[in-house]
Symmetry: C2
Subunit: 193 residues, 2 copies
């Protein structure tokens, strides 16, 4: 059975589909120093209907890798500008690297790579991120092979444990929590905005 919030999130994605930015959300992590970090990432769909894992991609050279190794709990803030609703999604992150031994995850990593555009794949062949700026020519490269992911290409999966859904358009605003306790049955709780 799908989680009770899945249809609401899918509906928001659908109703905001005219805006390409509606597939972007902000991912907050904690750095090894205990500070917050926050950046925009692209939603690449759900991996499964059992754990409702949200799929994004990342580069093994990204500094967020250290954050995830230190603290796997993350919070996504996904604001839909057209329908004026926010999903805060708390959950644990899982990195799927080139050395991951799970066949189905490795297959998902490969398929996701194949579905990227040439320009998105090329970014994984760019010079090291967050290093002093390289010459422009270092970015003028042929797109990498479309079939086999580069070694630094990773899937980044978020398994949700709590959703906080806020609808600003309702009068009064509607806010609802969806919480997954250890027995794995979602609890729904309407709360004040």
């Amino acid at each position: 059975m799908l989680a009770p919030w899945r249809s609401l999130l899918s509906s928001a994605i659908h109703r905001n589909r005219s805006k390409p930015h509606s597939r972007y959300f902000q991912l907050a992590t904690v750095t090894p120093e205990g500070y917050p970090a926050n950046r925009t990432v692209v939603f690449r769909g759900f991996l499964d209907d059992e754990q409702n894992r949200l799929k994004t991609i990342t580069d093994s050279r990204s500094t967020k890798i250290q954050d995830i190794e230190y603290q796997s709990l993350a919070e996504v803030c996904w604001y839909f500008t057209k329908t004026r609703e926010q999903f805060r999604i708390t959950g644990s992150l899982q990195l799927v690297t080139v050395t991951d031994a799970d066949d189905s995850l490795q297959q998902a990593r490969k398929t996701t790579w194949q579905n990227l555009s040439d320009s998105a794949r090329s970014q994984f062949a760019w010079p090291n991120p967050a290093q002093p700026a390289a010459d422009k020519s270092a970015f003028e490269i042929d797109p990498p092979d479309a079939d086999t992911p580069l070694d630094n290409f990773c899937l980044l999966l978020l398994t949700p444990k709590k959703i906080d859904h806020l609808q600003l358009r309702s009068n009064p605003q509607q806010r609802c929590w969806y919480i997954l306790p250890s027995d794995q049955t979602w609890i729904t709780q309407q709360v004040n905005p």
Copy 2:
């Protein structure tokens, strides 16, 4: 002298002004348990040109207050959908409550309240946030006095220490860091995206 990133951010705000959501950004904090928290807040302008403090508002009943008391360092992620650029703004948060002894901050708190809409002011008279949903009638209230802020109304100021500006539209993408060391002179560093 204005910080070197101020004109870039002001320009982004100006060029995206047709989109009301361009004044919203995502604020990440760390909870007392050491977990990340992330939510959308509304930019209410700069407080000053010396410290470049970004102004937002919050309710003293909000759970983010505990986060700030535990760890004042925060990271804003501000993505501008029209110009396709992102500002990650790392800095320390300062809460201005009804008991703050600083006259100029107390005046800023009052002016900010006066500039809100009735509907924004009313939210501070709503039932306690994040509690089990109250009856709809509890939200049907007369707007509070427009001159004197309610006691639970707070300013929340962010003093930037590092800016990470990413421009997706450039070819190649442009990324630049602005860092404020202890001698209070901003350093600019072009880095790889």
